[in-house]
């Protein structure tokens, strides 16, 4: 136990859906009656996995079920998963905001949790007063706060406003001050939930630096939840991936991330049409479209320093010349980033290509290095330019880009523009 900071055993948390929290008076009486007779909670047996997209049969769901893991002292654990996977519930249980339905958590050391920055900030109080109040809420004593006070003010960069009520602060200043208080907590275990989604790029960088400092230099245990894969990768060594309330991967951060990226989207990088649809095609039928990585595995989410290929399985129904295959890449703001076609290659030679009837596979690498973090979709069609539309692929392929390599962290905020190419600068 000595080098274990947190040990979680058989952890489960059940919620009741609908209007009332955990139960109405009749359920309460039922529970009480069962307990009196020495039986187990009748409602603990029901309940199903938490999949918000499907309509369930039971009013009870398990937000977390049978979760077990250990965190070693000084380890930085990244907790990842889709929305609703149970990440926030897990953090709430670990930080004692709510109690588990089953199982237990053994904690070795003082925990401070940062589920939201600025909890307990009172708008009427000045920055100074709020530093003390917020620090105390997070578990510091007055003396501890006083000794850190200058560092906190310095880190926040709002020194000039420190004696002004925080209701007069801009939202950016508010967040800066709030994070600064939390950043100088000195617990053995720090739990952080998505707080990096705040502030400007420069401040985010500062926060990341501080968190890295806490875990690497001070040797404290950090639990970090984020959808920002780049942040997780940068900060964490171990990874825990959750899906529908269960632990899917408990290992290194890259193992967890690979799994996460693999199952990230429901549209898992492959769309196939039914053979029946081919009846309407006369010359060309695009059978399937897929997104793959280097080794040919299907993926739908990818780091922008890796490779991503588009693969089309096309069935030529009738031999001919001048068939073209093209795609357009769109972002989620409905901007077309670029388009490309089979004719791009070899100085127009592809335009004269004679297609024999039969199956062909077309493959092209997508220049994802220049894509910003976010979701994208690809639409695909086949035409004889200016003459005839041969086939339009009915469904768009969707994928997600994680920016892990741009010099300015979280490119989406930091760099302006639709794309983020890295250019070669020189100096003379």
């Amino acid at each position: 136990m000595s080098d274990i900071a947190i040990k979680v055993e058989g952890l489960g948390k059940q919620y009741r859906l609908g209007e009332i929290g955990t139960g109405t008076i009749s359920h309460d009486l039922n529970r009480w009656f069962a307990r009196m007779r020495g039986k187990e909670d009748p409602f603990a047996k029901v309940g199903e996995a938490n999949d918000r997209t499907k309509k369930g049969n039971s009013d009870y769901v398990w937000s977390l079920r049978d979760v077990e893991f250990e965190v070693k002292k000084g380890e930085a654990l990244g907790i990842i998963g889709r929305n609703g996977a149970g990440k926030s519930t897990l953090l709430k249980l670990l930080s004692k905001v709510t109690a588990p339905t089953t199982g237990n958590i053994k904690v070795n050391g003082r925990i401070a949790s940062l589920l939201e920055v600025g909890t307990g900030f009172h708008p009427e109080l000045t920055g100074r007063e709020n530093i003390f109040l917020n620090g105390a809420i997070l578990g510091m004593t007055k003396t501890e706060i006083r000794s850190k006070f200058d560092e906190i003010v310095d880190f926040s960069g709002v020194e000039r406003y420190i004696d002004t009520p925080v209701k007069r602060y801009s939202s950016g200043m508010y967040v800066r001050l709030a994070f600064a208080v939390a950043a100088f907590l000195e617990p053995e275990i720090l739990i952080v939930d998505e707080v990096l989604a705040v502030g400007d790029a420069e401040f985010q960088k500062k926060c990341m630096g501080r968190m890295k400092d806490v875990s690497v230099n001070d040797g404290r245990t950090v639990l970090f939840v984020s959808h920002n894969m780049a942040a997780v990768q940068k900060l964490c060594t171990a990874g825990l991936m959750l899906a529908q309330g269960s632990v899917i991967v408990d290992g290194t951060v890259s193992e967890a991330m690979d799994k996460y990226l693999e199952v990230h989207e429901a549209n898992n990088g492959f769309i196939e049409r039914t053979p029946a649809e081919a009846d309407y095609a006369k010359k060309v039928f695009i059978k399937s479209a897929a997104l793959t990585n280097d080794t040919g595995q299907l993926i739908s989410a990818v780091n922008n320093n890796a490779s991503l290929y588009l693969e089309l399985d096309v069935n030529i129904m009738k031999a001919g010349i001048g068939y073209n295959f093209s795609f357009e890449l769109w972002n989620m703001r409905d901007e077309c980033i670029f388009s490309s076609s089979f004719f791009d290659n070899e100085a127009g030679k592809h335009a004269d290509y004679l297609w024999q009837s039969g199956n062909n596979t077309l493959r092209v690498e997508l220049p994802i290095r220049m894509l910003k973090e976010g979701n994208y979709r690809i639409s695909i069609a086949s035409v004889i330019p200016t003459v005839e539309i041969l086939d339009i692929f009915p469904t768009e392929l969707r994928f997600h880009i994680n920016d892990v390599s741009s010099p300015i962290f979280v490119t989406g905020e930091g760099r302006n523009g639709v794309i983020v190419p890295i250019l070669n600068w020189s100096k003379r």
């Binding site: 709510t98 009172h122 105390a136």
Partner: protein, 266 residues
Amino acid sequence: MLDLRLGDVWRYRDLVMLFVRRDFVSNYKQTILGPIWFFIQPLLTTITFYIIFGRVAQLGTDGIPAFVFYLAGNTVWGYFSQSLTAVSTVFTTNAAMFSKVYFPRLTMPLSIVISNLVRFGIQFGLFLVVWGFYLLTTDTLHPNWLMLLTPLLVVLMGLLSLGLGMIFSALTTKYRDLAMLLTFGVQLALYATPVIYPLSKVPAKYMWLILANPMSSITETFRVAFLGSGTFSWAYLGYSTIATLIILLFGILIFNRVEKSFTDTV
């Protein structure tokens, strides 16, 4: 089961005091009169009582000048009822904060009772001024050694409102009906406590009912001590003390139980 987790609260004692401070600063910022409101509240209530119960209804006051009689009752009752109401909504008013960060929840009701205690201190000062005026200008008041019990009375009231408030706050997280019940319950309880009438005026038939209320002997003792008329009995006060301690213990237990899962139900 019987772990009250008071050690945790002690570790967070700075937080309790900061909450008290926050209460004060935030309540009176941007008001013109500021802390003068502490005086206005009991004064206006007392004047109302004086007119309605003293003049219109002509309830007796055991020969004590009506104004100081009502002010004494009001000062005491005001402390109790205000901390009780504030403590009983502690979960619902702080839900947002409670669901984001853990600190011993007991610090919150404790800070409410303490900040009301400061308010009581100021109002008690007002009472002393009025009392001193009557003491010097008339010979109707007969203060006595029971005044030494004042700290005990104040502590009892504080603990009683804390205990009762925590029981209500714990139950209101699930059943909001109780919040409704409490609002007019506190109003009604004023009449079940000898605030606007002396205990001696209570018909023997209902005496047990009034005495079952732990606040009764506390209020009555306070008046006996400062004004010199009324009913004092060690037995009555002893009952109030024991009742207060039992309610407090029960309150802490149920509060600690609910705090663990209240964010799911609130």
